[in-house]
């Protein structure tokens, strides 16, 4: 029975991830809150499931020439070093503290995403209004 829950939680995270919205950010709280997976293990699982998805998606994006290698490789250089340092620290720190810090991170990301979504809606509305305005002028 537990297998079904795990597959289901992966499915939810995957759908959001496939839309490019941060499936991992959703997957980790789901499996730690509802399925009592330890924070550290949840993080490792999230990294694991991200990799095959990323390879497939990256292949498609490279084919469509959407990847900026110049910027990407530069960021990657320092990114790899610091991600190794960060994961060493995450493996040493107390699980409960890690969970609490992750919770704060989630709150920040959530609020940021909320503001961004509302702002983007406003932009689309402004564009629509601008079009209407243009048409009005044309008819005049």
């Amino acid at each position: 029975m537990r297998i079904i829950y795990f597959v289901l939680s992966g499915l939810i995270g995957g759908i959001i991830g496939g839309m490019g919205m941060g499936g991992g950010t959703l997957l980790i709280p789901i499996i730690t809150i509802f399925l009592a997976v330890e924070q550290r293990n949840a993080q490792a699982v999230n990294l694991l499931v991200f990799i095959p998805m990323a390879i497939v998606a990256l292949g498609i994006h490279i084919k469509n020439k959407l990847v900026d290698f110049k910027v990407g490789i530069l960021i990657m250089c320092s990114g790899i070093i610091f991600s190794i340092l960060g994961s060493f620290w995450a493996n040493e720190i107390n699980n409960n503290i890690l969970r609490k810090i992750f919770a704060v991170f989630l709150l920040l990301v959530g609020v940021y995403q909320f503001i961004c979504t509302i702002k983007s809606k406003k932009k689309i509305k402004d564009k629509a209004n601008f079009k209407k305005y243009k048409i009005k002028i044309l008819y005049k």
């Binding site: 995957g14 997957l27 990799i51 998606a57 610091f82 991600s83 609490k100 810090i101 961004c116 979504t117």
Partner: protein, 147 residues
């Protein structure tokens, strides 16, 4: 080049550099563009290693804001950045014995299926309400994990 608003003589005696200023530097100077990329790479890398995820959610806005990539390109480049970083951190988690393969394959099965589904229904769904629901779920999850 516009004059940068670096204020060195405020009452705290510290240097203030506004976000606008960083944006301008990255636009105008190739060498500092490099160092800005390296700096943000360190932040994204640390986040991705320490929290095992969420690097992408930070990386996309950074690429758009500070390195001036359009949204689609930012998403694609994020994947290129995240992939080797995730592999590197995964190795560290694995060495420390914190990678549970038994639940890993189950979640992975769901995640890959979901990923394909998500990419397919992406165009048919209302982005605004998806964003609102997603952010509220994350905020509630964060509060639940804090308590």
């Amino acid at each position: 080049m516009k004059k940068l608003n670096i204020n060195q003589n405020n009452k705290y005696g510290t240097t203030e550099i506004s976000f606008e200023c960083i944006k301008e530097i990255s636009q105008n100077n190739k060498k500092s563009k490099k160092s800005i990329a390296l700096f943000f790479g360190a932040i994204i890398g640390f986040i991705n290693g320490f929290w095992g995820g969420g690097g992408g959610m930070v990386c996309v806005p950074i690429l758009m804001q500070f390195l001036h990539l359009p949204e689609k390109k930012a998403h694609a480049t994020t994947l290129l950045i995240m992939l080797p970083m995730s592999i590197a951190s995964l190795v560290v988690y694995f060495i420390n014995g914190n990678l549970p393969f038994d639940i890993g394959w189950q979640i992975g099965l769901g995640f890959i299926t979901g990923g394909i589904l998500g990419a397919l229904i992406l165009k048919k769904i209302n982005n605004f309400w998806l964003g609102i629901v997603f952010s509220i779920v994350i905020i509630v999850g964060g509060i639940k994990m804090l308590i």
